[in-house]
Symmetry: D3
Subunit: 241 residues, 6 copies
């Protein structure tokens, strides 16, 4: 049930207690992939997970801008402060819970949101009348997770499977040429770089040429399956404590 398309009477009649809240980011993904990549992916995975699940799941609208100031040196990157982001997520979850949808999985498409989501879902679960956990799709694709870069093989593959028209295939060589191999500039397990522009020339990490649409389909399948399992676990969990 997409909340945006349902009426309030539909929501009343569905009487769901499970909800998914997709959160993305609008930020650089190299010269070949759109700024909205993370928001598209969060929404795609959330839809697929809800579809696969047996019980009714409310699907909230996607929060499009997240914690992404690290990409500020690349044009078009949008961000809100971590405080603002946490408040926005907390308030939305609070209004879902107000209507009884008080078990909420925040389906996330952006690595930079992870710490803030860990914090805010803990705060909600401890102090508000709701239980919330985060789910970051690319952490839940099994052994594929290790290939995650930024605008790299996994994200580009999933775009090729779901939004092929948004991948600039004619810029893949350029994207590869300016990419870095890994995220960050590390000394003694500390990342010295607070901006991605300190370690990647064009914003890309990893090789965007290596992930085809078939891989994208596989990733979506893995992520949806993982989300389905998580929905079951969240539905069944004793959160009375």
């Amino acid at each position: 049930m997409h909340l945006s398309d349902a009426t309030w009477t539909d929501v009343r009649d569905a009487d769901a207690d499970l909800a998914l809240l997709p959160v993305g980011s609008t930020e650089q993904h190299g010269p070949h992939a759109p700024l909205g990549t993370d928001a598209y992916h969060a929404e795609t995975v959330a839809e697929a997970g809800a579809d696969r699940h047996d019980e009714t799941v409310a699907l909230a609208p996607t929060i499009p801008v997240g914690v992404a100031e690290e990409h500020r040196r690349f044009d078009g990157t949008l961000w809100v402060s971590p405080d603002t982001f946490r408040s926005y997520v907390r308030d939305v979850v609070g209004s879902l819970a107000h209507h009884g949808m008080d078990r909420v999985i925040v389906v996330n498409g952006h690595g930079g949101n992870v710490p803030a989501l860990g914090e805010v879902t803990a705060t909600i679960s401890r102090h508000d009348d709701a239980y919330a956990v985060p789910f970051t799709w690319f952490e839940a694709v099994g052994d594929r997770s290790s290939e995650m870069g930024h605008g790299g093989p996994l994200e580009t593959a999933l775009l090729r499977a779901t939004h092929p028209e948004l991948v600039r295939e004619d810029r893949i060589d350029e994207a590869r040429a300016g990419a870095s191999d890994g995220w960050g500039d590390w000394v003694s397990s500390t990342n010295l770089a607070h901006d991605s522009a300190e370690f990647t020339e064009n914003g890309v990490v990893g090789d965007p040429g290596t992930g085809d649409a078939e891989l994208g389909d596989e990733l979506l399948d893995r992520a949806a399956e993982a989300l389905d399992r998580l929905l079951t676990a969240v539905a069944d969990r004793d959160v009375s404590g």
Copy 2:
């Protein structure tokens, strides 16, 4: 230029200084219209205004949840606090301005957002490195503005023109039956009701049966034309003061 679909290099090359930021709400619109009505309308009008305008305009992703606690008694209504909403809008506008898109029109689809948008655009324009103004589409459709209700003739007409599949035509009679004639419960020019459920039985204000798709097309045309004019005025304004 939809920022979500553009790459950062596209944004860099476009070199726009005008941006539109659509803001909606996810809230009850009666038994016949979807919760996402205001977000859909904000996005539709913003797109139409950008299309009509001669110069390149950056179109930011739509902020889907706004100031709507007044509808909390109707299921599925989502809201954030006015503080959170202002922070979210201010931060997003700040990141647009960081890239030079520092003349921003917040295209609004929800009456409940109006006071918060007036405040935050003033704050931004006075204290940040950007100039921002709000534009609420149904205030800019000329003499039609007076017919605005809630889930009433104007909003339903625009849905019929742009998202007809989302209007439950078979519930229009029901919607009309539970509607109130006007917004609020007034004594001495003061609205005594802080919740919409205090004056409308099913959330509707006005008659949703009276606005057809043709009216919707007319409204969109009027709003787009008004927005185009506003874009020109914003582009030309001396904001150095």
Copy 3:
């Protein structure tokens, strides 16, 4: 019962549950009217309304500085941020309610306070142990409301009736000469001006020469009568929801 002049034992013995909280502004009102105009008017109207009402009404001291940054380019204009203003009003209402005066009308003399008062009275009524609504005197004088400017006919008339010594009659011609006809600089129903100095040369909107003391008396009578009716409605309202 003026709280400032009552003792705590008087308040205890009066056992009122209705209170009026006047809020003004200290801001430019042209070359002919004092900075304190809005605070004087809020207090005057509140007193008159309380006098007319049958039941005991507690009259809190007037909050003298409000949301008025828009007049910052005119000397002597004082303001607090909207956040600070809302906090101040909310805390004062909270302390009134602590003593059982938990139905509060915020009697307002300044247009710039209106959005913040709408927000904070809703927040109080939904989340605190009190019910509050705003009452802006010049919105409650019937067909006269449409003549409201800034330092214009209505405000000057009320001053002439209540504080004639504060009107500089010898500067009325000057005031008229530098006044604008209307508030703001509008395109497509959007006000492009965030500062009043962008559209009025000397801060005045409307003709201050046209409102005499007789009109002032009439305005006060209308406002007091409207406030009396509102007090009755607030006293009778079911706010248990």
Copy 4:
């Protein structure tokens, strides 16, 4: 120059850089003295100090509600949180400084405001474009300061001199009977009481019968003289550091 009664053109022409901001409290002062005692006294002293001073001094309107939750168990006591109070004072001083009145003495009538005023004037002076210091009248009356109670000899005397109609002389015996000798409930230099009701039966500390109007005149004279000296010192101080 009372800002409330001046026009913006008067303020412009006066070109003052010194301002006084009176801050009071609306709180219990026993069965014999009004809730507004501290606000009246702050305003009275500020006026007297400004009158005595040679140069033009802007006199801002009095902030009527301060930090007074400690008196919450006595009816009619109003308060704002210390955070709200600091914000209100800081914002008002900021707007005074915006117009060049950037040397501000906060003239205080309430002991409970002292810590918050010390903090906020330091914050303003270190971080904003203004210099501010607090002045608490009853700390500046020489050897008389030691007689200060609450609703006791000093405050009642000053009322008798300036607002005799507000002193309930027929309740002085009652006031004396329920008074405590000193403020607080002390062990090892720590006050164990967070509420005044823990140590005074009717809110009074000290004997309100002992201060006559003559003493009140003397106190006002001493305070005004001290404030005049402080104005000179503030005007002359090098605050460039």
Copy 5:
């Protein structure tokens, strides 16, 4: 019971409801005394008071940085804002109370912390599930309190008794030479100086040569005895109100 050295099972078994929370400052104390003087003293006094008390007292770890911006012109002085300091103390006390240690004395070694501690302990006691009061050691040493300066006789004496290796005896003459006689720059009972560097050349107030280790022992004894008495009073107090 030092919480830092106890295990959680020790705390569980001790079942204390009294706790001491030492708070210091890391700030200049002249050329002869260490920056950590106030933190050392708070901890020393807290330990001595807990040792002397009959019942089990939980001793929390010392908060090392407080409200000390006034010393910012002297190198190495650390500070947090008063807001941050209050939040830190409030949160720590809240977690103590969560485990039943809900009667907390904040043992303070720094004059600059006093107003913030008065405020936050009142807030905690009125609004949280705990009772808290501050105890500032040098206010509780009887007639010796009047000799308190800054890096002066009392503080240096206590260092000589407890941390003699941290006193640079060879710089005492220098310390004395650059010291001021008193704290602040006073006119009309108002301190015009917001920074200590405005009235003391090297940060010292008072003569650090006059307090020997014997005096230090006496001070510690007095403070510990006072704290022991306060612990008893806090344990016995009815805080149900």
Copy 6:
């Protein structure tokens, strides 16, 4: 240079621009290890790193309480909110930078602090006049990092090497018996547990019996060496961007 033991003149003369700020936690570490484990370890590692480094490094006092609400069900665990923790760290770093020590490594002993430190060091580096990075000692001990639990082999080993008297060796069997094998309760790469008590009976994760003092010495050596390298990298980094 320990700031707590240095005088302000020492700091002035040392003229360092590098500083270490140790941050710990006071939280359960099983029945065998003290609540202060993380604070002790942060301080120990910071001292060892500073000792090993060639240039002068300022060592700030240890912040003893961090982000640890997840352990709230175990007695004696203290915590502050993530917001409070970030503010405290940011303010302290700001005061270090005020004196020229504007390259700061936050030396961390607690996993729960990691997300908040990542956020606040980025905020500082992007928006304040300082450069800061976090260093979490157990992430910087090479292949040993994978053995990290909670009160497990690594932390207990380091205690045995540095504070053997604080390890309750007679409770090691009990500690092992109630320990869990891993941190959290995972489904689909999401940890469903917001409290450690949901997955460990006595708070321990890992076997505290397997790490001896020799391992502790090795860990300290590795961590100190890593920190020394990081100090060099931070000193040399171009942070002008």
